[in-house]
């Protein structure tokens, strides 16, 4: 089983190495993410290119429930990209963050904006992690 997993991982890693980092463009429009669902294979490194077409600031926070809760309750409002998967996107601007979906990690992660009222408004999406 481990070998299978390892073999699968190697396959994927090999493919990822061949393609280098994959880029996914996510647009922030009317305080929503487009697309709201992103599918990635385990072991893939994804560069999220975020384009904010709104006249208000947004942010992109990728992580599990604990990460989302922490940001929803926290007061940090500026993310300069030091943490993979977390970046602020100024009104009308664009930004990028790179994140590696590790093998054996969660089957899904959420990405969301936690500026006041944005999450409750529905500014959230999901990254489905599967090799299928």
């Amino acid at each position: 089983m481990a070998a299978l997993t390892l073999a699968g991982g190697l396959t994927l890693l090999h493919a990822a190495a061949g393609q280098a980092t994959q880029t996914v463009v996510v647009t922030m429009h009317h305080s929503r993410f487009q697309p709201e669902v992103v599918r990635v294979a385990p072991g893939t490194t994804v560069r999220f290119l975020l384009r904010n077409t709104d006249p208000i600031d947004h942010e992109f926070i990728l992580g599990d429930d604990a990460v989302q809760r922490r940001h929803e309750q926290g007061r940090q409002r500026e993310h300069h990209g030091e943490v993979p998967g977390e970046v602020s996107v100024a009104a009308g601007g664009q930004a990028a963050t790179t994140y590696t979906f590790r093998q054996g990690g969660p089957a899904s992660l959420q990405f969301a904006c936690h500026l006041p009222g944005h999450y409750a408004y529905g500014m959230r999406g999901v990254a489905l992690v599967s090799s299928g």
């Binding site: 009317h30 305080s31 006249p55 500026l115 006041p116």
Partner: protein, 355 residues
């Protein structure tokens, strides 16, 4: 189009956002210089012989911060000036003698950048007429230190797709204090807007609110003839947008209105008075109100915000069907903009995200 020339519309909307007030206060009417609350805003918009006459009053309840409001307009004003002092009160007294005091917060406000068409100052209010898309107007406001609620991008585009004209009113409470204005004092603003399109913006009332937040307002229409409305209003006493009164306007009322400053355009007789009470939630107020006074009974679904003007065949998603009878099919003919009326919504708030 020609038929519009013979109709007149006078609309008054008294915004009553009692339930929404706390949300707005939390949402950004608090700035680093103090607290300002727009306690009540009353607006009157009229349309007569192709010209919109728009009168609104901003009343503040104190504080030292700066706040603003953006109101969607159906056209470019040719004049912005201080309005009459008692027209709004007279209309309220005529149609709703027992009206309770209401609280109303602010409203605010498209090309790559907004074009400033007109700037003027009336008492402590800085008035700017803007042309631009929703994003451009939002950018303009943000760059001047105001914040927009999370739903503002969608709502501003909703209006800009039909009319890219907005009025931004920025209230300087310190200037008000320096002028000796007291708490509760209102500043009436009158706009003269040649336009062929008329609609009363209702959706903007919900700006910055949760879908379950109560939205209450009173809307008065004074037209040359009995108007056709879309969505068709509910019966008196029903929730939603209900037609409480529909009757000929008294000549005494018209005479009183005509006697106020800037109100000489009001006809001496022959107008129809309608009173609509809005009692709903922000989530249900997904539309505006189209008014047709041509006698054809055909207010525009586009003007009502029920059809996306950029995709005419695609209806705007509707949480609930309009109350009342079936909606007639109407051409784009709107009169009046009472909408501004609505002062409440946008709430460009002082950008205090860190708070």
């Amino acid at each position: 189009m020609a038929r519009r020339g013979i109709v007149g519309l006078l609309a008054l909307l008294v915004v009553v956002l009692l339930g929404a007030q706390p949300a707005l206060a939390c949402g950004g009417l608090v700035g680093p210089g103090g607290t300002v609350q727009l306690a009540r805003t009353t607006t009157l918009a009229g349309y007569h012989q192709g010209v919109e006459h728009y009168l609104t009053s901003f009343t503040y309840s104190g504080g030292g911060a700066k706040f603003g409001s953006i109101v969607p307009l159906p056209g470019v004003p040719t004049d912005v000036s201080k309005g009459g002092e008692w027209t709004l009160q007279r209309l309220i007294r005529e149609t709703q003698p027992q009206l309770e005091a209401a609280a109303a917060p602010a409203a605010f406000g498209a090309r790559s950048s907004a074009e400033v068409l007109l700037k003027t100052r009336v008492d402590a209010l800085d008035i700017t007429i803007l042309r631009g898309g929703g994003k451009a107007v939002g950018d303009w406001a943000r760059e001047r230190g105001f914040g927009l609620s999370v739903d503002a991008p969608e709502v501003l585009d909703f209006y800009a797709d039909r009319s890219p004209i907005f009025m931004a009113a920025s209230f300087d409470a310190r200037a008000a204090s320096a002028r000796g204005q007291r708490l509760g004092d209102g500043t009436p603003i009158q706009l003269t807007i040649p336009t062929a399109d008329a609609w009363v913006p209702l959706r903007i009332l919900g700006l910055g609110h949760q879908p379950s937040d109560a939205i209450q307002a009173d809307l008065y229409l004074l037209t040359d003839r009995r108007p056709a409305l879309l969505p068709a209003p509910a019966a008196a006493g029903q929730p939603g947008v209900a037609l409480e009164r529909s009757q000929p306007a008294s000549e005494l009322l018209l005479a009183d209105l005509r006697a106020d400053k800037g109100m000489s355009w009001v006809p001496a007789s022959g107008m129809w008075l309608s009173y609509l009470r809005i009692d709903t939630t922000a989530g249900r107020l997904f539309h505006d109100l189209a008014v047709d006074t041509s006698g054809r009974g055909s207010p525009s679904p586009v003007a009502a915000g029920l059809v996306d003007p950029t995709e005419p065949l695609r209806p705007v998603p509707a949480p609930t069907p309009p109350a009342g009878g079936p909606a007639p099919v109407w051409p784009w003919l709107a009169v009046g903009l009472a909408g501004a009326t609505i002062v409440a919504a946008v709430a460009l708030r002082a950008r205090a995200r860190a708070s």
